[in-house]
């Protein structure tokens, strides 16, 4: 067990950011914290990263207590914060060189490792450049490379792809998969359900500082949602007007109302659409799709992940 938390709590004055959560992360897995902004994910990550003391509860990382052995734990961690926080006065490779020294590595170790990591982050041809003009995706890859300089057993990634374009996200996901295959334990926070589904073996869904569900992405979808979803858009200001017409349609178990559409949860999307058509319900558009973690979150909290 790399990380274990019992009743972990973080408060800022009267505000409860993390409200007594229990979490266990095993060696070699990719573990996710999924939740909307403000759910307490980053506060949890900062406590695990030993840069924020817990207000209450018990936290152990590598079996050690951050309050006592913070520097020793941090020496075995890699940490990618939400903002890149690269050293913009230095070049790409200098960022890696000096970071290695912060971990007490020798110059030879740092240089060797930096060369490997530049290759891993696909930044070898930019190694002598200043950091500032790099693209967002490159900066994020450099941040990840930097966090790997000490060969960490556990890598913390706080919203790793927020603000990146789709292509840059896919490159980054590919790099993270490679790390996982090499046996690095990953802890990822995200408010993108596709990211959680792609990367995480196991995850917890957080809302208002609490954990509302836990399991593998597949697990959670089976437990809290149906196999398929039919999304209906109508030509009207208030989709609530159409709920009655849709309720009780074939194969469906539940209808959720969103500002711009109705979601019909069903075990057979095609049967549901056919029945709607037979009933004379004619939406502007009908989309049949598989259930995702977004649906799990909606079911558990009554809200969408990304507003």
């Amino acid at each position: 067990m790399l990380v274990s938390a019992r009743g972990l709590t973080k408060t800022f004055g009267d505000f409860v950011a993390v409200d007594g959560i229990d979490v266990e992360v095993r060696r070699g897995e990719a573990f996710g914290f999924l939740g909307p902004n403000g759910a307490g994910k980053s506060s949890t990550m900062r406590m695990i990263g030993c840069v924020s003391p817990a207000t209450g509860g018990e936290l152990r990382i590598f079996g050690q207590d951050p309050a006592v052995d913070g520097p020793a734990i941090r020496a075995r961690l890699g940490s990618c914060p939400q903002a890149d926080m690269l050293d913009e006065e230095l070049t790409v490779q200098e960022n890696l060189w000096i970071y290695g020294r912060y971990f007490g590595l020798t110059k030879a170790q740092t240089r060797k490792r930096a060369t490997e990591l530049l290759d891993f982050a696909q930044l070898t041809d930019r190694r002598g450049d200043k950091v500032e003009p790099l693209s967002g995706g490159m900066k994020r890859r450099l941040t990840i490379a930097r966090s790997l300089i000490n060969n960490p057993e556990l890598l913390l990634l706080d919203e790793p792809t927020t603000g990146l374009d789709p292509q840059a996200r896919h490159i980054l996901w590919d790099r993270l998969f490679r790390l996982k295959r090499q046996g690095v334990t990953l802890i990822i926070t995200t408010h993108y359900m596709d990211e959680a589904e792609q990367l995480c073996d196991r995850l917890v869904v957080m809302d208002h500082g609490r954990i509302v569900a836990e399991g593998s992405p597949r697990d959670l979808i089976t437990r809290y949602s149906t196999r398929e979803v039919v999304e209906l858009r109508f030509d009207s200001d208030d989709h609530a007007d159409h709920i009655d017409a849709v309720t009780g349609v074939a194969a469906a178990s539940r209808v959720e109302l969103l500002p711009d559409r109705l979601l019909v949860y069903t075990d057979d999307g095609d049967a549901t659409s056919a029945d709607l058509h037979a009933r004379g319900v004619i939406p502007l558009s009908t989309l049949v799709r598989r259930s995702t973690l977004e649906d799990v979150f909606l079911h558990l909290t009554g809200r969408t992940l990304v507003d």
Binding site: F12, G49, V51, S52, P53, D69, G70, P71, A72, R74, A75, R76, L77, S79, P81, A83, M85, L86, D87, E88, E89, L90, E94, W97, I98, Y99, R101, Y102, F103, G104, L105, Q109, K112, R113, E116, L117, F120, K130, S147, L148, N150, N151, R178, L179, Q182, G183
Partner: protein, 281 residues
């Protein structure tokens, strides 16, 4: 990405942190030198700053020493000797430039790193602690200050403005002045939240530069405000440098030294404490 065995730097950090936990000090891993190394690395890309930091006090020296020195032929020091004006003013300029250099480094640069570059956040994600950051930043300000002071002393000596072998101690004294101001400056910076707050720094530095018995001896001030002059840190820096460079050595110099040491230690501890409070929340 092969599994490199890089050893565990953890053991060393733990030993040091155990030690520091026994003392009422902000945490550090004894790795401040890497903060200094980082600054030296960044400085290689902006070495032109070195030239300006050196040039300013030298310009002052020649403008005041030669210009005003032509009008004011000699000055009676507080130590009682009669010296040419340039000789009188050179130690004060050395002390002031040590102050200015230290304040620049520990306020503007630290503020930028703290609030904008988030440099310290990324350092604190490693085994480094807040004490390493405070000690490293102040240490860097001292190194830079020492370089400027050495160059200034060399110019002053070549121009014949240095009259005593005690002046060799003027360099460590300048580093001590740098320590006091860098530490207090860094501490003050941790309380600042916008660039406007730097006006307060200017407000503190400028009168000190003008009125710390810098350009005329303490005896010329009205008796009622001498205590005020003597309370400022720069006064002690100027008095220390002047005593050494003019060879007027006495127990008073030990008092000036103690004042600056105390200021430096208080400032360094305060800065480390504040970084801890600001960033490790």
């Amino acid at each position: 990405m092969s599994g490199l065995d890089l050893g565990a730097p953890a053991s060393r950090a733990t030993g040091v942190s155990r030690f520091s936990r026994a003392l009422p000090l902000p945490a550090g891993a004894g790795m401040a030198r890497w903060v200094i190394a980082r600054n030296a690395m960044a400085f290689r890309h902006g070495w032109v700053a070195l030239v300006t930091g050196f040039a300013e006090p030298v310009f002052y020296l020649f403008s005041l020493g030669i210009g005003i020195g032509a009008l004011v032929h000699s000055v009676r020091t507080d130590g009682g000797s009669e010296v040419p004006y340039a000789v009188f003013v050179a130690p004060a300029l050395l002390a002031s430039s040590a102050m200015n250099g230290a304040v620049m480094d520990s306020t503007f640069n630290v503020f930028f790193k703290l609030r904008y570059a988030k440099l310290y956040d990324s350092m604190l994600a490693t085994p480094l602690g807040p004490r390493d950051i405070a000690v490293g930043e102040i240490g860097w300000a001292l190194l830079r200050g020492a370089l400027y002071s050495a160059a200034f002393l060399a110019v002053a000596a070549l121009a014949g403005m240095v009259t005593s072998w005690w002046a060799l101690l003027a360099l460590p004294a300048a580093v001590l002045i740098g320590l006091a101001f860098a530490a207090i400056g860094m501490w003050a910076t941790t309380f600042m939240t916008s660039w406007q707050h730097f006006d307060y720094i200017t407000l503190a530095i400028q009168p000190m530069f003008l009125f710390s018995a810098t350009f005329f001896p303490l005896s010329t001030y009205p008796e009622g405000i001498r205590w005020l002059v003597q309370a400022t840190p720069l006064y002690h820096g100027v008095a220390l440098e002047r005593g050494l460079m003019l060879g007027e050595v006495g127990w008073a110099l030990a008092g000036h030294t103690a004042y600056l040491v105390v200021l430096g230690v208080i400032g360094a501890l305060g800065a480390a404490r504040r970084i801890e409070r600001l960033l490790l929340t």
